[in-house]
């Protein structure tokens, strides 16, 4: 049953094209989430359910939320409200919603018992991944933890307002009072 795979692939490529060509960051993020969901469906059809779950939880969940936070932080101000109102018009969310509907229909079709949606007869289960991850790849896991620690410390240090700017802002506040 390769049709589901190619449909998901078409959705992924189309959504990614829309990401690169959008002018507004939030519109691009909507399409990027759809693209990641489509790739997750492709993972599932390829027989990698654990990778599919991680793609949705970490990529489409955590990393995209981080992007949305930053976009919202950069848009503080009065015109943000007007822009928010503009974003709620149907023309903007209808495209990603339609693509998501295609993916949802595919998912429901796959979940019908009896359909041979997963083309790979040998599904690599999460258990096998875990056994290998904490066996031969243990050193890579340790290195990944070091990388994440570095990312954490770096993001904290860079995201912090420096002391001079803080003092300046406090001065402005006192002037305003």
């Amino acid at each position: 049953m390769n049709l589901a795979f190619y449909l998901a692939a078409a959705v992924a490529v189309f959504a990614t094209t829309m990401v690169v060509t959008r002018l507004n960051a939030v519109h691009a993020l909507l399409y990027l989430v759809v693209s990641l969901l489509a790739v997750a469906l492709m993972f599932y059809i390829l027989g990698a359910p654990f990778a599919a779950a991680l793609e949705i939880i970490i990529y489409a969940g955590a990393i995209m939320v981080l992007f949305v936070f930053v976009v919202m932080m950069l848009n503080l101000g009065e015109q943000a409200v007007a822009r928010e109102r503009g974003w709620l018009t149907p023309g903007i969310w209808v495209g990603p919603a339609l693509l998501s509907l295609v993916l949802l229909a595919e998912l429901l079709y796959i979940l019908i018992p009896g359909t041979q949606a997963v083309v790979n007869p040998e599904i690599v289960e999460a258990k096998r991944v875990g056994v290998e991850l904490f066996g031969p790849y243990l050193l890579a896991v340790e290195l990944a933890s070091m990388l994440l620690l570095g990312g954490l410390v770096g993001a904290w240090q860079l995201g912090r307002r420096d002391a001079a700017a803080q003092r300046q802002e406090a001065g402005h506040d006192r002037d305003a009072d």
Binding site: T17, V19, V39, M42, L46, G47, A48, I63, E132, A165
Partner: protein, 102 residues
């Protein structure tokens, strides 16, 4: 798992990677450059998972998990840098940063 399906999955990974490269080269907004980097990392993960599925081995998914941690660390640092640049220059235009002092 047929060989043609692996070929097509790798082909789609190449297409996604090319779209990401186009995004990095064409867009000048730092947020879009970061998004394009995510697209490229995701395409690399797709190639790994497709290859792992071809031989029914778990190594492909393990490499995908490592790419996932790399993407998380990269996006945290990248977004923190973007915030800092926005505070300093009041813009996210990458060309605005090309001039150096001195």
């Amino acid at each position: 798992m047929t060989a043609t399906l692996t070929d097509h999955a790798l082909l789609i990974a190449v297409v996604l990677l090319a779209l990401g490269v186009c995004g990095v080269l064409v867009r000048r907004n730092l947020l879009f450059i970061l998004m394009s980097l995510e697209i490229m990392l995701n395409a690399a993960g797709l190639a790994f998972v497709a290859a792992g599925a071809r031989w029914a081995q778990a190594d492909g998914q393990i490499m995908f998990i490592l790419i996932l941690t790399l993407a998380a660390a990269e996006v945290a640092i990248g977004l923190a840098l973007a915030l800092r640049i926005y505070r300093h220059f009041q813009t996210l235009d990458a060309d605005a940063l090309s001039g150096m002092r001195g």
